[in-house]
Symmetry: C2
Subunit: 205 residues, 2 copies
């Protein structure tokens, strides 16, 4: 693309560095900002800068937080002996939305992926292991995505805390509520039969 303005070209280049945004979309967004009041662009760029520069992470669970100890970790009503291990803040938000979980979280910040250059040292695994050694945590629930990277990460952590007196579990994989059996993939359907639960359990929900 040939631009008539260097300013526009720069802005389009920077916007197109974002994931899933190509040059065409970037141009559309830049032209949109030009048509809006200046305030909108000022608010957008200052909020991005502020986010990047002032962001803090909870010292206990490593979730994004404006204070040293996040709301969840600071809540005395939550069960600190139960810790759910997730990849990032979006997983925390998803689980919190269910209203079914009263324990704490541990945010890894990603998963082990040699392809993307992410090793165990880039994640908060050491902090999780040392927390587990303190003896407060009774159960770790692995809620990572069921990909090869997720499984690798689960296994890596498991190996490090195997000898400790900490129970480990993973979230149940199975047919989604309301889904038809005939459209389910074989692996999921197979797992849902192997990991079947007593019928009485389903009556309690």
């Amino acid at each position: 693309m040939e631009f008539s303005s260097k300013l526009l070209e720069n802005a389009v280049y920077e916007i197109s560095q974002l994931p899933g945004i190509g040059k065409r979309t970037a141009l559309r967004l830049a032209l949109h900002l030009l048509k809006q009041p200046k305030d909108q662009t000022t608010a957008l760029s200052s909020s991005l800068l502020k986010l990047r520069e002032e962001i803090k992470f909870c010292t206990n669970c490593h979730n994004i937080s404006d204070v040293a100890l996040c709301e969840i970790c600071a809540n005395p009503k939550r069960d600190e002996s139960l810790v759910c291990v997730v990849e990032d803040i979006r997983d925390v938000m998803a689980i919190e939305n269910t209203g079914q979980y009263r324990g704490l979280y541990h945010v890894l910040g990603g998963r082990i992926s040699p392809m993307e250059g992410v090793g165990p040292q880039n994640l908060t695994i050491n902090s999780l292991v040392s927390k587990s050694k303190e003896g407060i945590i009774k159960e770790l629930i692995f809620a990572l995505s069921s990909t090869m990277e997720g499984d690798t990460t689960n296994f890596y952590i498991y190996k490090q805390i195997e000898s400790l007196d900490v129970k480990t579990s993973t979230i149940a994989r199975g047919i989604a509520v309301g889904d038809e059996l005939e459209y389910a993939d074989e692996v999921t359907l197979g797992r849902s039969i192997l990991n079947r639960v007593p019928f009485e359990n389903s009556l309690k929900l």
Copy 2:
């Protein structure tokens, strides 16, 4: 969505003000920026601010430009008696890419759309009309989108310059080169028959 951080919430809100970007995508983009070096966020926000604050428009054709007279208008080799009327800079870029046009442009900045609150006074129509009265322009080529708004805008401009000694034309609508007739819509196919061109013309290309 409930956020654990006000900074993150603000950034997500501002990003989701952009067209076609919802809250989920905005969150994904914000988390992406957090994982990248600080420089990227700084470059992005400063390029947006610079674009919005320092942007200039060519005084002649109203295209985005860093100088008072854009490259195209300043080029003595271009035919100033021929002016192509377009909606925005993307159309200029598309036509320039063809390498087939040696005249100048006039960028309207949009099209008349009462639904979106865009009237003739929001566009650069007055400037086009007064340019036409100067007697330099011999032909105006309307290259607006063939929607109701585009047609309205064409007609509005046409009515204002009707009495002047300026030829008007619109770009040809027809079957795209390489397309199959059977998949074309009726309106386009109908127009392509009504506006057929002498066979010898196609030999020259």
